[in-house]
Amino acid sequence: MIGVGIDAGSRAIKIVLMDTMTHEVITSGTVGQGVKSNDLAMELFEQLLKDSSHNSEDVQKIVATGYGRNTISIADATITEITCHARGVHHVVPEARTVVEIGGQDSKLLKLGPGGSVQDFMMNDRCAAGTGRFLEVVADRLSVGLAELGELASRSVTPAAISSMCIVFAETEIIGLLASGTPPEDIVAGVQNSIATRITSMAGKSVIPPVVFTGGVALVPGMDKALERVLGHRVETAPNPQMTGALGAALLACKPKR
């Protein structure tokens, strides 16, 4: 049988199909988020079933998570991304005690117990500073792709100080920095530090290692290093970090039905 996890995030829909017995990932896929979230998820789900030579009768349960979880009509259950990311990270890095998840629209910090249960969580879902959206704005302003940001930041010698914690005002700062001749690589590195600092302010002083970084922004090179600098701990990027929420949802879908 198959357990299915669907993570309907703000920027992308991620789906994981998992073997309920072995907990091995059968297949996974991603599609960009859109207006018709449910239709997009259905199309991707059906494609993944077909590609893996399965059909809907093989499905034990479907768990939806993420911002748009309540729009997924085929879901048997909805579980928040807090629980799903915790479960997903624990599966791939069992010793993880702190999870930093930065998505397109929000960021979270989870504290895990030794068995992977959520002990505490903090969220920033009210402000774009500290989220992937901040990086998108910067990439747009600098006319570079998101994927190039990391490489650009790695060339920075003197990261710019971005003092504003608000994305709108930070954009104004970036325009000012560009006008004053600050190299783009220093601006990008400064923005990465700014996002990392925002995460630290959520974490307080009680970050317990090992720290695992997940979510779509973990794919942006350099962000892990920026987090390491401000957290003061080594930060391990989860394998396939964009899929961690869907992976956790799939694991929860694999639980035997009561």
């Binding site: 911002y67 309540n70 579980i79 928040t80 991304e81 807090i82 629980t83 929000d106 249960s117 959520v118 002990q119 505490d120 969580f121 969220m123 879902d125 009210r126």
Partner: protein, 455 residues
């Protein structure tokens, strides 16, 4: 989803009437309040009992009651900010009705902003950087949501910065206010004599004496307005009557919060608790309404009837919500109300009847959670959490309210450190529609975490 919709109530009301429902003069179908502009009622879900119907009708007819009281020659006193003290004095006089103009903070929610009170407040200099209670200023300007009182009192000092600013603006519009000062309750020094207050707090003898002298000034003003001398015996009777309502509310809270399965929804419980501070312009009727709610809760408990699944997570709720819908959302997410501190915990305690009445009122006023430190408030909250067996704590912040800015973090840290319970903070604006997904995510995550901790 638990509870019934307004449309369900339309049908249910007819059934109840056909079954012989007897209602007080303010009774009737809830739908009629929507026709008066209370649009938010269309989006709430309700308890289906006759007791809850009476509770809602009582709440939503306060303005009618005030206007009737005035037409019957009674004096109206707008008692601002003290949350439970001056109303006890006012209702001890035979011809005075007290009410809370502060209650207008819910008007933008109930009327879904159609009334424009925030816009008016902004035009008088109080924008969204102030607590939503700024709607009260707009209500004074329009004179459309409550009759302009014959006298205003306002507690100032350690109570609330936002409220003081708003009340000052009201006074600037030509509505004189009898201000009375509330000192910050503080730790007594080594040589200071202390007095134990209701709620387990302490204040110095000097502080209690000061508040008593301030309340004496208010008492004199009330006497001048009413034309009656407020004797100690009258005040003692007033305290006894207030305690009757408080005692009923206390029994209701204990019954509901400790029941195996929740017998009364969070929304109706919050409204019932609010009556403790202002009696909704009719002290005796408040006691009767609360008695009805208690009887309904007891009936359900003894019959084993719960409105929510038994495994619902027991949530302690901190601070009142600007949008009443948030209380429905708690239950949609798998939680149940199991204790609350809506910023007026002192108004739930019985006023000491074995003291001089003014001394008793002064002590009660000083037990206000808002005039002490956040740590004090956290201590009381934690005592209640333990008494009610709450499993998680939800702190709802009020946007713009200065007292909420840092207090939630202090309370949250204390609860985590001393009780080891999960805590989450949410922010509830007057209309949460667009923010509902993010609010639900936080509440659901809290509930999932609490369930995980059960294992």
């Amino acid at each position: 989803m638990s509870g019934i919709t307004l449309s369900d109530w339309d049908r249910h009301y007819i059934e109840l009437k056909e079954a012989g429902l007897k209602e007080p003069w303010y009774g009737g179908p809830l739908r009629r309040h929507v026709e008066d502009g209370d649009l938010r009622l269309l989006k709430l879900r309700y308890d289906d009992s006759a007791a809850a119907l009476r509770l809602w009708n009582f709440l939503l007819t306060e303005e009618d009651r005030l206007r009737e009281a005035r037409s019957n020659g009674k004096k109206l006193v707008g008692v601002m900010k003290d949350l439970g003290t001056v109303p006890v004095m006012a209702y001890s006089l035979p011809n005075v009705v007290a009410f809370y103009p502060d209650g207008a903070w819910w008007t933008p929610c109930i009327m879904e902003m159609s009334e424009g009170l925030f816009g008016l407040a902004a035009s008088y200099g109080l924008d969204e950087s102030f607590c939503p209670v700024r709607a009260m200023l707009g209500a004074f300007v329009t004179e459309a949501h409550f009759p302009i009182p014959d006298m205003l009192t306002c507690s100032v000092g350690a109570t609330c910065d936002d409220f003081s600013s708003i009340a000052q603006r009201v006074e600037g519009l030509g509505y004189p206010i009898n201000w009375w000062e509330m000192p910050a309750r503080r730790k007594p020094g080594p040589n200071e004599k202390v007095i134990r207050l209701p709620g387990g707090f302490y204040a110095t003898v000097d502080q209690v004496a000061f508040v008593k002298s301030e309340l004496e000034r208010v008492k004199t003003a009330l006497e001048e307005l009413s034309g009656y001398k407020l004797s100690d015996d009258m005040l003692k009777d007033g305290i006894r009557a207030a305690n009757k309502a408080r005692k009923t509310l206390s029994e209701l809270r204990l019954a509901v919060f400790t029941a195996k399965s929740s017998p009364i929804p969070a929304l109706e419980m919050q409204i019932a608790e609010m009556f403790a501070i202002h009696f909704c312009s009719d002290r005796e009727e408040t006691a009767a309404v609360l008695q009805d709610m208690l009887a309904e809760a007891q009936k359900r408990i003894s019959s084993g009837i719960g409105i929510l699944p038994e495994d619902s997570v027991r949530i302690f709720w901190v601070n009142p919500v600007a949008d009443l819908r948030a209380m429905n959302v708690l239950e949609d997410c798998g939680g149940r109300i199991c204790g609350a501190d809506y910023l007026f915990a002192h108004a739930l305690d019985e006023i000491p009847e074995d003291l001089h009445p003014m001394e008793a009122l002064a002590r009660m006023a000083l037990a206000d959670p808002m005039v002490g430190s956040s740590h004090d408030r956290a201590e009381r909250i934690m005592r209640d959490i333990e008494a009610f067996g709450s499993e998680a704590v939800l702190i709802s912040k009020i946007p713009g309210a200065s007292h909420c800015a840092t207090e939630g973090a202090v309370i949250g840290r204390a609860v985590k450190a001393e009780l080891n319970l999960p805590v989450v903070e949410i922010e509830v604006p007057p209309l949460t529609d667009s923010m509902q997904p993010t609010i639900m995510t936080r509440i659901e995550a809290l509930i999932e975490t609490a369930r995980e901790w059960r294992k």
